[in-house]
Amino acid sequence: MEQLRTFGRELAMGSQGGFYQSKEFLDLVKSIGEARSKAEEDRIVVNEIDTLKRRIAEPDIPKRKMKEYIIRLVYIEMLGHDASFGYIHAVKMTHDDSLLVKRTGYLAVTLFLNEEHDLIILIVNTIQKDLKSDNYLVVCAALNAVCKLINEETIPAVLPQVVELLAHPKEAVRKKAIMALHCFYQKSPSSVSHLISNFRKRLCDNDPGVMGATLCPLFDLITRDVNSYKDLVISFVSILKQVTERRLSKAYDYHQMPAPFIQIKLLKILALLGSGDKQASENMYTVVGDVFRKCDFSSNIGNAVLYECICCVSSIYPNPKLLDSAADIISRFLKSDSHNLKYMGIDALGRLIKISPEIAEQHQLAVIDCLEDPDDTLKRKTFELLYKMTKSTNVEVIVDRMIDYMISINDNHYKTEIASRCVELAEQFAPSNQWFIQAMNKVFEHTGDLVNIKVAHNLMRLIAEGFGEDDDNADSKLRSSAVESYLRILGEPKLPSGFLQVICWVLGEYGTADGMFCASDITGKLCDVAEAYSSDDTVKAYAVTALMKIYAFEIAAGREVDMLTECQSLMEELLASHSTDLQQRAYELQGVIGLDAHAVEFIMPSDASCEDIEVDKDLSFLDGYIQEAIEKGAQPYIPESERPGVLNMGNFRNQDHHESSHGLRFEAYELPKPAVQPRIPRALLPSTEIVPVPEPVYPRETYQTPVTPIPSNPSDAGSAELKLRLDGVQKKWGRPTYTPETSTSNSTSQKTVNGAAQVDGPSTVNSTRETYASRKLQVEISHEKQKLAASLFGGSSKPEKRPATGHKVSKASSHMLEKSHVPNSSMEVASEKTAPAQTPPDLLDLGEPTSTSTAPSLDPFKQLEVLLDATQDASAANSATSASRSPDVMALYADTPVGIHNKDEADLLSGMSNMSGATARPQPTKGSSKGPNPKDSLEKDSLVRQMGVKPSSQNPNLFKDLLG
């Protein structure tokens, strides 16, 4: 059965059918189209799967029928269901003789299978055969499949043929062959390394399509290795010049722009080749300037090319004139009403400020508008820009804004990203310690455990190491303010675990250091934390260790330790804890409290978290003791592996190893808890604690293991010489190596970074200047915005500079306007004028300037075509009447006044071309008849109705013209 719906059109097109479709298929498509929900759609598809499973296995299915089945399979997978039961039939279909059936088979296979699928091997043979076909369309179909299905191993099977096809007389084949080669290069560069010269050759192909396609592989090649392609600069420049001079076929024009997509690709390539290369860049200046001048900024595509020009200009060796043009375009983008253009403008600004940072000032208010825009995409883009232009003078405003925004959004992925950016900026540019700590607190409070635990560790390290290189006073102030803020924050409910760890650690280390708070204040708070977050063992562990430190400092300072009752009950609870780690900490705390001041000071020195720990792994200090023991008749130590009869013990080695570590309570480890995977945070371990952090290992952390378990036996601890054997501990924690030096090198690098942040001299100068400037020039701008601008753009425009810029912009834009009109023929100008009237109101989303949606060019040739079409259509419709099928068609329209013939007459009368249902070729101008066309919808509907498919009232959208 022929598809009636498109009957009229296909008749006029002169091509009949070929796309055989049964009522069953039409019903399926229609029911999918009318499904009101995804659930309903799913039910339809599940039914269809059942039907197809039965049908497709029937014997002797005619190939047209099979083709339809395969397309139904495509539908099933497209809608998210598994159609693997039919893959093999798609594979079989690629063997078919009919081109259409074969290509459908290839299409289905490329949609269903990835290059590693087992069935691919069955297709390689067919592809090989098809690549040799006399019919160039078969060759093209095979080349399409090559790009999608051939993997690294099968490349050699088709490579020789593909290379041969590079010289095929048909340009379509050459184009696809070059893309196949490109695909091989993407998958396995070495497989085609000897064929790279072909890409250069095809660049000079006399067909613009082949040349344009060749730019894709060349772009990839140049991205990987710029220097080998510097010689091509001249060629690319000359191609771009020819394109802008409209030397390419009109067929490549798009909205009056000559081959814009090729221009864009060329500009991308030039940007790569000219980057940091003055000589290469100088060859490009003229042509890039030409592109700038010739671009029509009233169309989307013109702006797309202009944007690419800016990218190119900001990548190649700077040229003042081009940079000026770029800045002008950016200001036009930013001033536009279109969000798309503003977005592009913000992006372009981000690129250009790398070269000329001062241009950001000209656009400060536009940037702030974008920042406050309700459109989220634009807002994010603007934050990205702010991130790029952060310096010590504006970091406070930017980070504060970022944090506010971070709090307001729900997308965890993006929240995490912004949080880490805040941290990065704060670490890099923080103007004061106080501010830094406060910013970090906010980030932690609001993003909680989304933030990488590394950030918490960094914060602890920063507080421990301090900012200033030698300024101890500043460091202790920083710590005091941290302690103070943490004591306040602890009042908040539900703090994230990572943040609590930081708080406990800092309180333990520095809680009593400045004498502001007494031990009972701090220990009380720590007990509260342990109690409030009793389900979080990690936090509890931090809290207990912090308690131990506070008590140790008290003992060392010679003060009486008076344990709070809540602390005592906490201890009692933890001594019986199921967590061996917590239990051990509690025992250790108990042990420490029983020691004398001297011993405590030795094992728990105050503020020693940054000291390096030296560990004598060989326990050489015990040599004398062992010697003595052996002399007394003791047995020498035999390594476990050499001992007879302990093989079966080997399994427990890891756990039991602690027995040989003197002084560690082995009973605590007797019941290994594989679930607890304690980790030690990097670099900030105080010499005397083990801190379990149940987080994945970060590669950078693994090299640091300053682990010194606390001897819980007072007599052992008292011995100054005693060092613990750590092998067992290390195994348990999975630490491969131990390099104490790294922590020092880390700290120095950190300090240098922070040292740079201290420079914030210019800020005061700038802000005074700004207030003057803004008072003078931005009277109508709200005070808040001005303030924001002032703080963001610190060194704002000098008063005398602003008007000059404004003048320049307007002058340049009028200049551009003139220029853009000059090369245009009067015809084009006319089309611009008529454009708004032709614009269908519902065509565009995104609120671009309406002119972008104007129909294609209005060149005289096409106008002729329109006239011809119209007459042809009329005659086609007439001849249809005499054709055998025509009575039915006419009957169809009997009840609607919308005959094919009638419509075209009406169109002719109105003098505008119309995309009527019967028009085969597109009309270059979509005239006033554009817009929602109820006639067409009716017509289409009645056709479907006629075929017996149920009425479409459920989803009339299906019939709406996309372009109207």
């Binding site: 091509s15 070929g18 259409l100 081959a259 989307n300 592009m344 597109p922």
Partner: protein
């Protein structure tokens, strides 16, 4: 391509993703424009949304216009193209796309070149 109800009408990937990954990705798309490391460029025509996922180096405006070029091309072929045209002739729409994009790159932007093979194929059968 997804219609107003968020139902998929045509899907083509240039990197292999499993069915599960595709389902997850397509479900999330509609509300995000910058999506993880991708960008979604979308454009609406009547009831149909056209969505293109690109990486971060792509010129979004150009992609937006590329979508329009594709719609114009389909319009030239079908005449007043509508959602049903694409649904009834899914394979044709795919063939056009195969002519326009290969290996994830734009390779052909001349409507005549895009449509010739499709129309020849139609004639041949």
């Amino acid at each position: 391509m997804v219609n107003k109800q968020g139902q998929t009408r045509l899907a083509q990937y240039y990197e292999w993703l499993t069915l599960e990954e595709r389902r997850a990705l397509e479900a999330e798309i509609c509300s995000f424009i910058e999506h993880r490391n991708y960008k979604i460029v979308y454009r609406r025509y009547a009831s149909l949304f056209f969505l293109v996922g690109v990486d971060n180096d792509e010129n979004e405006l150009a992609i937006l216009e590329f979508i329009h070029l594709m719609v114009e091309t389909m319009d030239r072929h079908f005449g007043n193209v509508c959602e049903l045209d694409i649904m009834f002739h899914l394979e044709k729409a795919h063939f056009m796309m195969e002519e326009m994009v290969m290996n994830g790159c734009i390779v052909e932007t001349s409507k005549a070149n895009i449509l010739t093979p499709v129309q020849l194929m139609e004639k041949a059968s």
